[in-house]
């Protein structure tokens, strides 16, 4: 029972049952007091009417005595009223009500019931013209009986409600605990390390099922992120091993081979660049960049970057063409957008043979600005195309080309951070990478 006392489910259910029972109790008390007062008032009125009735018949001792005898005879069986007539000396001269002379007016009296002994009654006493005193009384028993009935009825109702409520509370409490227990049990299993567990979802679609579905969706998201994190950590560890081994090898040559120190420094720089890229992607994916966004003339930026790259590309034996629709603006970070365009151009250069053509294009519809870089190189196999945006991914064909497999990951992260998206398609031949960004209305 100790854990039941600390259970919110039971506490709520029992409190509810107790509140219901208390309401019945309150209602019972109200009915009791209202009925009692009403009956008493009606009784007093009946007595007064009877007194008025009697005194109308005659207001002197002998006539009254006769009248009382008549009424007592007529009503012998029902015994509604009791009568007594006292002479001015205080002696009872008529009526069967066995009581000492009461004071004038309404009062409670005690009389000797022939069968039950001393009993309480309500009486009204009036003085007649000859000085004798008429007393009409009604036994309190009837009202007490009704009051008792009311009390009994509500007492029983209270007890029944208490029993049913308590039982219901037990059932309801157990039900709530079972439903909530399913959720906390699952959570406990997950805490213990089994991330594949999910909260069981019922078929009724009630609030508990809604909560279970929401928790499961959250767990899926967390599991996805965990998997991503695990993947990235192992990728980072794996991809850092190779350059570190190269650096180590180069360092072992220092003092023996000319230029080994310079090459070691270069390899150190490459490693730093790799870390820089990882951090930059993390920064972009971390969110919160949007508050620094400003309008960027994407058309001018694309031309600017293209213009900056053209000599280097033609020195490298590739030609760059660009087709830029003027006047397209987006809300964003100029530096990140420039780096994305640069990464796309880097990517196209690295993965194409000499003589390749690279096309840089920017156009837009009402909603979206569309930037794409296409080449006529060997392209990417459909299998690799699915993975090309993954961090550190290097296609089979490009194991030996420079780069760290992070360029397109950054472009993808930047596009998403700007509320856009990235798509990789076959340009037959070659590869086309397109990013869309929400266009800023002029």
């Amino acid at each position: 029972m100790a854990d039941r006392r600390s259970s919110a489910a039971y506490r709520i259910a029992f409190t509810y049952a107790a509140a219901f029972a208390a309401a019945i109790l309150l209602l019972g008390a109200a009915v009791y007091f209202a009925a009692d007062a009403e009956f008493r008032q009606q009784r007093d009125m009946a007595i007064s009417e009877e007194v008025a009735d009697l005194t109308r018949e005659g207001d002197a001792g002998p006539e009254m005595a006769r009248e009382i005898a008549e009424r007592e005879a007529a009503k012998a069986t029902t015994q509604t009223f009791g009568y007594a007539l006292f002479d001015p000396g205080g002696r009872r001269i008529a009526g069967s009500l066995d009581t000492p002379r009461p004071p004038a007016g309404l009062s409670m009296i005690e009389f000797q019931d022939a069968r039950e002994g001393p009993d309480a009654a309500r009486a009204k006493a009036v003085d007649l013209t000859d000085g004798s005193r008429l007393v009409v009384a009604v036994d309190s028993e009837a009202i007490e009986a009704i009051d008792g009935t009311i009390l009994t009825l509500f007492g029983i109702a209270f007890a029944v409600i208490l029993v049913i409520g308590g039982g219901g509370a037990l059932v309801l409490g157990r039900y709530l605990r079972r439903r909530l227990g399913a959720i906390s049990d699952t959570a406990a299993v997950i805490v213990a390390g089994d991330l594949d567990q999910r909260v069981p979802v019922g078929t009724s679609g009630d609030e508990f099922d809604t909560v279970a579905l929401a928790i499961n969706a959250m767990l899926d998201r967390i599991a996805g992120l965990m998997e991503n994190l695990r993947q990235v950590s192992s990728d980072v560890a794996h991809d850092l091993r190779t350059p570190l081994l190269r650096l180590r090898h180069q360092l072992s040559l220092v003092g023996h081979v000319d230029g080994a120190a310079e090459r070691a420094i270069e390899q150190g720089d490459e490693l730093l660049k790799l870390f820089g890229s990882i951090l930059r992607i993390a920064e972009v994916e971390g969110g919160g960049l949007a508050q620094g966004f400003a309008p960027v003339d994407l058309s001018a930026l694309v031309e600017d970057v293209g213009d900056g790259f053209r000599p280097a590309l033609s020195d490298g034996g590739r030609s760059l063409r660009w087709e830029v629709e003027p006047g397209i603006s987006v809300s964003g970070d100029r530096e990140l957008l420039a780096q994305s365009i640069a990464n796309l151009l880097d990517n196209a250069t690295v993965h194409t043979p000499l003589g390749a053509h690279i096309d840089l294009m920017l156009d837009a519809d009402d909603q979206w600005a569309r930037l794409s870089v296409a080449d006529d190189g060997p392209g990417v196999s459909p299998k690799d195309r699915e993975n090309i945006l993954r961090r550190f991914f290097r296609g089979e064909a490009s194991r030996t080309t420079p780069g760290n497999g992070l360029g397109l990951s950054l472009v993808s992260a930047v596009a998403v951070a700007h509320g856009g998206d990235i798509a990789v398609a076959n340009a037959t031949p070659g590869l086309r990478v397109t990013i869309i960004l929400p266009r800023l209305k002029a």
Partner: protein
């Protein structure tokens, strides 16, 4: 040149002190922010190299206090944070340049040199000269030996940066920042390609090369042409 170095990490400080010392600078090192404000405001340095993470008083607060006290000495901020927002915060606080750790000593030296020789803003320079190469800033015209050399806008910008720092090394990242506005280093050799075009245009009809390549550091305009 007298340089104030505010850096709490002993290893980095020793590395910078030694390196700048070898280049002929006199380095005074402090390890916390309060000292940096005090020395920076009371002694005559030619430049301040300021780490962002300092005990006592944060680097940018040091900078703000110095600037609030009307100290106009060029300040180069060092930081371990390379984030976009961090750089903006540094420049907003009044830094003249910004370098992300880890950095090569040649890079720091080149940037300090560029800061040290930066002419006072009041001196409006209309014309730069280095040997027989002249650059007319107003007309955006370059001549060598009196003959006009037609340049593309980027080539002109590269040359202007080199000539403003004639005799001193300009690094690849300085070119990227000043000419392209990039704070990242693309894989494609965009700096080298533009420089080689600029060089061949300047060389046309002449035997010597006014722009030298400094291995492992960058490029330098020969001050004597």
């Amino acid at each position: 040149m007298r340089i104030l170095l505010a850096e709490d990490d002993d290893e980095t400080a020793a590395f910078v002190e030694r390196g700048l010392g070898e280049l002929g600078h006199v380095v005074t090192r402090v390890a916390d922010g309060e000292d940096a404000v005090h020395l920076g405001a009371t002694e005559a340095f030619d430049a301040i190299v300021l780490d962002r993470m300092l005990p006592g008083l944060e680097g940018l607060d040091v900078l703000r206090r110095l600037r609030a006290g009307a100290v106009r000495i060029p300040v180069l901020v060092l930081t371990a944070k390379g984030g976009i927002a961090d750089r903006v915060a540094g420049l907003d606080a009044g830094a003249d340049d910004y370098l992300v750790k880890p950095f090569a000593l040649t890079e720091l030296a080149a940037r300090l040199n560029a800061l040290l020789r930066r002419p006072p803003i009041s001196d409006v320079i209309m014309r730069l000269e280095a040997g027989d190469v002249t650059l007319d800033i107003l007309r955006r015209e370059v001549t060598r030996g009196g003959r006009v050399v037609p340049l593309q806008p980027r080539e002109y910008a590269l040359l202007e940066l080199l000539m403003r720092n004639a005799g001193r090394v300009v690094t690849r990242t300085m070119f990227l920042e000043h000419v392209w506005g990039f704070h990242f280093d693309p894989q494609t050799n965009i700096v080298e390609s533009h420089l080689s075009r600029l060089r061949s245009k300047l060389r046309e009809g002449f035997a010597d090369e006014p722009i030298e390549t400094i291995r492992g550091a960058g490029y330098r305009m020969r001050a004597d042409g």
